[in-house]
Subunit: 202 residues, 4 copies
């Protein structure tokens, strides 16, 4: 009986395993290739080769090149957002929140370099989805800024502009850091948080 069941239960499992492995190899490959060559420079054939599969196989997992790209952006944005939301809820006051969020941002970047290269790197933000993802963060920042200004913790100013400035600082420094292995992410986070803090505080 047990022997009889094996082929009926294990087979699907093994297949599922294989599928999962290939899927995994494809995302990973796509991540590496997209990070290295950018959206336009990355060819489906490159990704397939990097994943060690045939071109056709790519299309078993993604309908188009755009689809992988979007998925990666989505994944990155969602994970980052969730971690940053955690940071937000753990902070005691707007200034604290701001600092934590910057730290989380860089921490995440350190752990997901390729993802960051894709979302914030060169040849990335040409796509709507990326811009929309970035806007998501802006909204949260604006909220925090408003709170801080009303509480008198931050100087008065135009929160929309400030938020853009903060996002710009982070994106730019991150995309610089991503190409410079010799600096610790924490160092960059600290420096950026420092400027932000001092720049905003009342």
């Amino acid at each position: 009986m047990a022997l009889d069941m094996e082929p009926q239960i294990d087979k699907p499992d093994r297949r599922a395993d294989r599928r999962a492995r290939t899927a995994q190899e494809l995302v990973a490959a796509a991540q590496r290739v997209l990070a290295a060559k950018g959206y336009h420079g990355a060819k489906i054939a490159d990704i397939a080769r990097e994943a060690g599969v045939g071109v056709g196989t790519f299309y078993l997992y993604y309908p188009t090149k755009e689809a992988v790209f979007l998925e990666l952006v989505e994944v990155a944005a969602t994970q980052l957002k969730s971690q940053m939301d955690d940071a937000t809820s753990q902070g005691n006051n707007p200034a604290d929140v701001s600092r934590r969020r910057i730290q989380v941002f860089f921490h995440f970047a350190a752990q997901h370099r390729d993802l960051f290269r894709i979302v914030f790197g060169h040849d990335a933000s040409f796509h709507d989805v990326v811009r929309r993802a970035q806007e998501m963060f802006v909204t949260d920042i604006v909220d925090n800024l408003r709170g801080g200004m009303e509480a008198g913790i931050f100087r008065r100013g135009n929160p929309d502009i400030w938020a853009q400035a903060l996002v710009g600082m982070c994106i730019q420094t991150v995309s610089w850091w991503v190409e410079h292995d010799d600096v610790a992410a924490e160092e960059v986070a600290g420096q950026v948080a420092g400027i932000a803090q001092n720049g905003m505080i009342a």
Copy 2:
């Protein structure tokens, strides 16, 4: 007789004129098209049509598509650099210089939207030249930061990171402003300069 000589004297001139005019129309067209569609979205045929000339004509003035792009980046970078150098030389101290430079940056962006979009816009920095142009500005900033830190005007910090942060703030806010006509460039410049100033000052 005098009339007969005209074509022999004037023709070269007229030709030179026409050449110059066509050249002018091509850069202008390239500027508009590249700004609007980005490098990958801009087709040579688009540029030629926009300039009111044939495709072949384009190649009389530029050897490749990349060439126009590079020239425009060069032009933009040179002009901006020159204006910012003026600002630098007119400033009295690093803090003052920093503020002026930010203002010049926004002024330039306001005056040359298309050029700015090409160099700092989405789908821009995928190219080495653009990045190198951006680095040029970073270098100048780093110099200024070092001076300010040594003079005790700025807090101590990593000038490379700070420079990236400043550049990021400016690019992002300008990119945002470019799409929001309802805010004055000066207002944005002021807000950004404010954060920068406070963020860096000792």
Copy 3:
């Protein structure tokens, strides 16, 4: 013990059963899918899915996509031919035979829509085999026409052309009827037989 023997005696049977059932399901599925989408529109994956089996299984029963198609054409042609031969043998004279054959043709079409669509439908006759199957019927008609002409029952004429005309009438009207459920097959058959009869009779 007897129970132990069962699997050794029955298994082959059961396997044969299962094989037969799968085979049956595949032809049926192929028939439906090919009829619905035509040869080019029908994908092997479609047929397998419709049959409730894996793609690989398809290839256990047919060496190629063409093979199923050919088999179905063959099946259809054979069945139809056999029915029409019956009609032929039951007729008393060429005119009678002609009428009966037309009725059989419509009857068959009504009973085997999918098969009919495959052999006579749009996107069908692109294949040699289909054409050859169609020619088979033409040959029989030609024979009948010749007989009728010689017997003075039909007017004199070119039997090859007449046969094509008859076949064309039938195929076209059946194809039309297949999409118009509101008319009885017998009605159509009668009308067509009427024109044919009057058109050929001496």
Copy 4:
């Protein structure tokens, strides 16, 4: 002056000539290739090669493969319709009209074999446009039939079915004739018209 105008007037003319010639070669090539291989068998590369141009050139004249096909069908249908309308207006009574139309049909077929192969040949009617073109003729036939029946010239019957029968006769005999060089189109037309006439007449 005249010399000055030459380059400005003749050049465009020469270009237009060239364009027209290439266009002509492309339609002709498409016609031949589509007629010979059918829609699915015809590859863009085949057509381009047959026309003696590069693949890209094809796309200067047609956006897709479907487009040439449609144009050819359209052209064929329009011309044929116009000629058949002429025949209709010249006929004295429904029976006469019917005969003339059949003759025009075959005459046209004789002059445009490839066009007919494309529209009425194997692997053709899979496309909506072809079917719609065929329906256009059916409508005209139905009108004529109704007239003839009411005038007592034709037997009473279902005009829709009769029309399909007539169309089927013509299409089938034509697509048979198209592959048989040894029979004169007039001969086929005569035979078909004969059956039709006798088949319908009161």
